[in-house]
Structures are given as C-alpha cells and as structure tokens.
C-alpha cells in the first residue's frame, strides 16, 4: 500500500481532476435551477487546494482534512463553500491520526451532521445531503465495496431529479425545480467516485 502522503497527493489530484473535467456540467446544472456558478466555485476551491498540495499533504490526516476544509471555506464562497468546507473540516476534527475504516464511517456521519447544522437542511430537500446521507447509510449498513459506494452516490444524485427543492437557490423555483438534478448532489457524487477510485487503486 502507498504511504499516506502519497495517498493524500493522489486524492488531491483525483478530486481536482474530476471537478475540473465536470466544471462546465456542474455550472450548466446550476444554470438550470440556480445561479450558474457551482462548477466555477468548485473549480476555484479545488484548484486552491491543489495549488497548496505540497504543504497540505505533508500534514497528517486530521490536519490535512481540516486545512482542505478551511481552504474550501476561504476559496469557494457561495453556499457550497461553507458546506463542503464544513464537511472536510469536521472529517479532520473527528478522525484519529491513523484512521480505521470504522473511524472513517463514523467521521463521515459526524461531518454530515455538521453540514446539516450549517445549512439547516434535511434530506429530501434537493441538496448535497441527498447524496451524502444515502452513501453514509450504505457504509453504516456494512457495504463497504468502493464501486458500490460510487454507484450509490450517482444513483442518489439521479434521484434528486424528481424532488421539489426546499433549500438552496433552487427552492425559489418551486415546482419548476422538479426534473433537474441538484448541482451539489452531482458534485458530491463525483467527489465520492473520485475518492473511491483512489482508495480502490491503492487497496
């Protein structure tokens, strides 16, 4: 198995790659039911993370994740900045120096709870939570297959289409938000797939 610095480098690279290659798609999704900046925001944030990769990945897991979260908070802006920032920062706060799989599953749930606290949203309101929570539940249910995890994320993102948005800018659309995939759900699924891909590769 790769050493953990290398693993963090791979994760940073993979996440940047997926966000950059899907930035336009995310922006298009946000143009349909938001304000058309989600891809631009995510790209700006993960580019900042990647620009700082050398110093960030040298830190141990908790510090690395907290720093990634803080970078996202300070660079992404919009709604997704504080939310993804909170997700990563909380992961960092919750994880021990040498996390086990169980630690990861627990920390992921804690991070989601923090995101809910920050955004005051519930599942079923057409947000990133509608991907994060089903994925957490599958993990908690004991299925830790990485492909299945990625698949779950994408299926959950797909499943935001029929939902009427209650939170986020899409909520201003009311019924007209129905039929469109939530941009933050899509980006969450992409991030999960990217992370799963790296973990699978090094497993």
């Amino acid at each position: 198995m790769t050493n953990s610095v290398e693993l963090r480098q791979k994760l940073v690279a993979a996440v940047l790659q997926v966000v950059e290659s899907h930035a336009e798609e995310l922006t298009s999704l946000d143009q349909a039911i938001g304000d058309g900046d989600h891809g631009i925001n995510m790209k700006r944030g993960f580019e900042a993370v990647a620009a700082d990769a050398a110093s960030l990945t040298a830190k141990p897991w908790p510090e690395f994740l907290k720093a990634v979260g803080m970078t996202l908070v300070m660079k992404v802006g919009g709604a997704s900045g504080p939310l993804f920032g909170t997700l990563f920062m909380t992961l960092g706060k919750e994880l021990p120096l040498e996390p086990s799989q169980d630690d990861l599953v627990k920390a992921f749930r804690a991070a989601i709870v923090a995101v809910q606290g920050r955004g005051k949203a519930e599942p079923g309101q057409k947000t990133m939570l509608d991907v994060l929570i089903p994925v957490a539940e599958q993990l908690e249910g004991g299925n830790r297959d990485l492909d299945a995890l990625a698949a779950k994320g994408h299926a959950a993102a797909e499943a935001t289409k029929p939902i009427k948005a209650i939170r986020g800018r899409a909520s201003f659309l009311g019924d007209r938000s129905i039929g469109h995939m939530d941009p933050g759900a899509r980006s969450s699924a992409l991030l999960i797939e990217a992370v799963a891909g790296v973990l699978k590769e090094v497993a």
């Binding site: 900046d37 919009g78 709604a79 309101q125 800018r169 201003f172």
Partner: protein, 333 residues
C-alpha cells in the same frame, strides 16, 4: 458573450481597481482586494459591513462611505464572499463600536457571514451582530424553505441604518432598527432578458422574444412564473399588488419608492415604470415621500427592473435626508 472585459478571470479584480481609482476620495481597496473600505473612519461608530456576490453593482461597494457602509466584501460574480474577507474588513474598520453585518438572505451569504462571525473570536475585539434582509415578495414564504431573498430593499436598509450609525446609535439599537426597516420593506422584480456570468460564458436562462420572467431574483433566478410580455402598467400592477398586498399600507401612509434597473434597462423605461407605480400608489393613497429611480441593485446586464416600497415611520425621513457620500448615492456633502 459580448462584454467589455479583458479576461474572464480578471473581471472582478479590474472592476475593483477601476472602482477604487475612480472613487479614491471616499474608498480604499483592502489587501488582496478582500474588501472596499471607507477612507475616513469615525472612532467609536458602529462599523457597518455588507457584501455579497459581485454583479449587483453599485451594491455594495458603491454604498461605502459617509452615511452608509464602512466596508463591502465583494465575492466572485453571483457568489457570496468568503469569511476571510469579512474578517479582514472587520479588522480594518472596527473602531471599537462593534461590527454590524448586513446580509442578503441567501444561504451562501448567510453561512459565510455566520462563519466569519464565529471565527472572529479574538481577532475582532468588538461585538458582532447581523441583520438579514429578505424583502423579495416574489418568493412565497414557507416554514421549510430558505425564505425570501434579499434584493433591492437592502440598499434602503443600508442607507437608513448607515445614517443612524453616523448619528452614534449603538449596535443593539442599529440591529433592531435595521430589522424593523427590513420588515416594512418589500420588493419584486421582472426580467426581460437574461444575464451572462462571465465565467459561465452563456446566458443563465433564456426568454423568448415575447416572454418575461415575473418575480425574477437578482441573479437571474426564476421567479413566480414565465409569462407573456405585458405593458408597463400591467407589470407595475402585478408587482405593486404583491408588495402592497403583503405590506398592507394604510391610506395616508408615507413611503420611499425605489424603481431599480437591473443593469440593461435604460432610464426612460425606469421612469415609465416609476410613473406607473406612482399612479397605483396614489390610488391606494400611499404617499411617496422620497423616490429613487436608477440602477442600484443590478444583475449584470439583465434587462428589467424591480419595484421596492419601504413604509416609513417617524424619524426615517430625517435619516434618509441626512448627508450621504458614497460612489452611488450622494447628497448634502
């Protein structure tokens, strides 16, 4: 995308540089362009800080100066600014009286300002308080949703609270006053065309040649419904109907009327809308005590406008009329 720009990536920085140079008598640009601040601070005065995504100019940077804001934090186009910006601004303009954030009700803005307030800790010695503006009646409120958006009425809150701050009111009084002004201010908008976020490169939405978006937000977010283009009188009637339906002004009530262009609509059309709105208000015996017509809270080059009505109470008009000197609003100085 047809814009007078050099590159998509430098739109914001060049705008800020141009703005700071043009108004160097009143404002200064903070380090790394994190904020625009008032040049001359007043010791002990509560510092008013606002901010939000760019693309709404002159909001908020155009309202930095005597009688309005002490600093404004510009986010990327249509993207709320980040907490480091509010923190840097607060450090720069806090003179001991406390810091009051004026935040438009969007989840992004609310969360980023909230994180800044939480992170402030020891960095800012003074207390921090927040006013959230949510004047857009186009959004139907519901306990589950995010609530109404903060739109053009925000500038009325900034003006009145700014004037009160100048007179030395303390942070609690200002926060209470700002909330009260927000509570009696309502807006609604209509778009005739879309706008193009520079980094996106294509219009946020599309409208057919005979369509308009009624109840549009200031980011080109959709509103109540997409309908056929109507006459100025009919559009004003729907917008004012929603506003006064919600505010329920009594006959004889005084108000400030703001007819706000979204960026691509010329002055003539705004005055036609002003004329239409005033006729409606006259019919309801609402007295327009002050009237502003111009592009103050915009959505890039979107064509369209919003109407805002702010009911005024004792003392409001004196504050409104008190000296103000900002790039976009100036009188008596």
């Amino acid at each position: 995308m047809k814009k007078l720009i050099n590159a998509v990536d430098t739109v914001l920085s060049e705008t800020l540089d141009g703005f700071a140079a043009a108004h160097a008598d009143i404002v200064e640009l903070g380090e790394e362009r994190k904020f625009l601040r008032r040049k001359a601070l007043k010791k002990g005065k509560v510092a008013l800080i606002s901010g939000g995504g760019s693309g709404h100019e002159p909001l908020h940077g155009g309202f930095v100066g005597h009688g309005m804001l002490d600093a404004a934090c510009p986010g990327q186009v249509f993207t709320s600014p980040t907490p480091d910006q509010m923190l840097a601004a607060a450090q720069a303009v806090d003179t001991g009286g406390g810091v009051l954030f004026i935040v438009k009700n969007y989840e992004g803005d609310v969360m980023n300002f909230a994180m800044a307030a939480e992170m402030a800790g020891d960095m800012i010695g003074s207390p921090i308080a927040t006013i959230i503006t949510d004047d857009d009646v186009a959004v139907e409120t519901s306990t589950y949703s995010t609530g109404r958006r903060g739109v053009a009425g925000t500038m009325i809150v900034e003006r009145l609270v700014g004037a009160a701050a100048e007179q030395g009111q303390d942070i609690n009084a200002l926060q209470a006053y700002g909330k009260a002004v927000n509570a009696r201010t309502r807006s609604m908008g209509v778009a005739l065309t879309s706008c193009t976020v520079p980094a996106a490169g294509k219009p946020t939405f599309t409208l057919a040649d005979n369509e308009m978006e009624m109840g549009v937000g200031i980011h080109g977010e959709p509103g109540r419904r997409r309908v056929k283009l109507a006459s100025a009188d009919d559009i004003a009637a729907e917008m004012m109907g929603a506003i006064t339906g919600d505010l329920a002004p009594k006959p004889g009530q005084q108000a400030v009327l703001l007819v706000n262009g979204f960026g691509g609509t010329p002055s003539m059309e705004l005055y036609i809308m002003c004329n239409a709105a005033r006729k409606i208000l006259a019919g309801q015996k609402v007295l327009v005590a002050r009237c502003l017509v111009g592009s103050y809270v915009t959505s890039l080059e979107m064509a369209g406008c919003s109407l805002t009505l702010a009911l005024v109470e004792d003392g409001d008009l004196a504050l409104w009329d008190s000296p103000v000197h900002t790039a976009a609003l100036r009188w008596k100085m």
